[in-house]
Symmetry: C2
Subunit: 326 residues, 2 copies
């Protein structure tokens, strides 16, 4: 019998579901609005309905499904499969989401994992990290999320909160982070912080072609900053250089920690392309020790918009192989 896996990417706005064969080829996918305001029972009903519809459309029976992977933002008790609370889904409180979807909903074993780890696992299993056994993964979005693969497995930590790599301190005493610490890499190099640093620099009297964008839109995005940096604006260039330097420091320190052979960046800001990647690589070489040459590939994620469902499907397969689907 052919074996299939379902991957669920539960976001605040949309639920995406993918169906995968055992090589994690995408057989079919679907998407429905989350309806978060209506509470967890409604959300779960939508997931179950969409999953059943997807299987039917793909001519796959539930009997052929081995397990379900579910990616969700934290905080959650991943080992117990419970969403503790959710910024985007305020009615989720200690919701046993894994079992509501898995054992009770579809009659299938499942695994719940945070969305950054799920995306990391997707890139590791079938994306930019395919073929390596040690990998680091960073998402550059509103914040900086992370994932660590060691010995071919996700590093989850003592309480499921490992790989909070946005909160590695790169500049002690530096910018205040939302988490309460000072100098976190997230306070410098996330998409939001890259834009915020530009706004601050202009507010402090810096001259920049970004000034008119800020006046027109009332805000800046990291895309604005990279566009103006690429166009030669010195202030914008200084900001993007600072983003690359902070990320390079993160790469150096984390290389010495878990010695990955791949460091994979993902998230909206990788749209900046070589203006981001080339400079991170440059600053990494500037900062890294001279004791020996490091053979690490710093690169971009490759899975794109389907990362969440691919990662969830791949993680379901991996958990099944380890006997950890419950």
């Amino acid at each position: 019998m052919t074996e299939y896996y379902l991957g669920v990417d539960l976001g605040g706005t949309n639920i995406k579901i993918g169906c995968f064969d055992s090589d994690i080829n995408l057989i079919g996918k679907t998407s429905v609005p989350t309806g978060a305001k209506m509470g967890p029972e409604v959300v779960v009903e939508r997931i179950l309905g969409a999953a059943r519809g997807l299987l039917e459309d793909s001519a796959i029976t539930l009997d052929e499904v081995v397990g379900v992977g579910i990616g969700t933002p934290g905080p959650a008790d991943y080992a117990a499969g419970i969403v503790i609370r959710s910024t985007n889904m305020p009615k989720f409180k200690n919701t046993p989401l894994r079992d509501m979807i898995g054992r009770e909903g579809l009659g299938k074993p499942a695994i719940l994992e945070n969305d950054a780890n799920v995306a990391c696992w997707g890139e590791f299993a079938v994306g930019a990290g395919k073929g390596v056994s040690e990998m680091l993964f960073f998402t550059l979005g509103a914040g900086i999320g992370g994932g660590i693969v060691c010995n071919g497995d996700l590093v989850r930590g003592a309480h499921g909160n490992a790989a909070e790599l946005g909160h590695v301190i790169v500049y002690p005493g530096g910018r205040r982070c939302n988490c309460g610490q000072r100098g976190c890499v997230e306070a410098y190099a996330s998409a939001n912080s890259t834009a915020a640093r530009a706004v601050d620099a202009i507010g402090a009297g810096g001259d920049s072609t970004l000034k008119s964008v800020l006046e027109r839109n009332g805000e800046l995005t990291s895309r604005d900053v990279y566009e103006h940096s690429d166009a030669g604006d010195p202030l914008a260039r200084e900001i993007t250089e600072g983003t690359a330097e902070a990320l390079a420091l993160l790469c150096v320190s984390m290389l010495h920690a878990t010695e990955p052979s791949k460091i994979v960046f993902s998230g909206g800001m990788i749209g900046a392309g070589e203006s981001l990647l080339g400079r991170v690589r440059h600053h990494f070489q500037e900062q890294i020790w001279t004791l020996k040459e490091e053979r690490v590939d710093i690169c971009f994620a490759t899975l794109g918009e389907d990362t969440g469902i691919i990662g969830a499907g791949a993680l379901a397969k991996h958990a099944g192989e380890q006997g950890k689907l419950v």
Copy 2:
């Protein structure tokens, strides 16, 4: 049949060997001068002779020995069991030490691991980290060595060089480290760097009761600095405070990386006791995020001078259980 393990701690001056039962109780130990100048063949002969003598004295036959763990300073190809070179043993060059001692020497399978990882594993298996599955380990000596345990196993990295935690950058652009980087935690908080920072501060005109010690001995040790700090000397206190701050930054960043439930400090400088540990804990609480309370125990190693052989014995047992003794 009772099962036993041998643990070999190969240092530049002395070889220590311990014999352990399967609960890693120390049955007997011995020590012989390394004789490093005479080259690897002689060193291996001494190890084999000492090991056989130890077994005889302990009334254990080779038949009862399951495997041998060997701890050695790097750089080495641990997977292949080869010492690439050694600062303290200049005649070791691409020496297949694991097989010379193990399969060829004693007719037993063996595992070769770097000394910091071995000490880490000892503390994890039967010392300060006993009972946890996620641990960080730091040695504070001439440099800062490290060890990481995730998912109950050592993190070795893509090329066996993970957990070089002395080279996590805590102060970008800061003090030059021997490794070529700037701002490594090792450049601030090792025993040698703690002493060196005091010497620098006095050289820069700082007033201190350490001045007379420096004039008398021509150098300072970290013990001098802690003694004078404890006695109330403000400059010495500033230096030891700096050591604690750097170590706390390392703990914060690494907590967010692998989320250990124990962080264990070892090495000569832990002789400073509460003057070191209490302040690391204090600065950790000052620096750590406020998002949630962290349940991590920052503590000292407990195995003392036998760490090297205990760790090697425990690692041999673990590798045997994993089918990784070769």
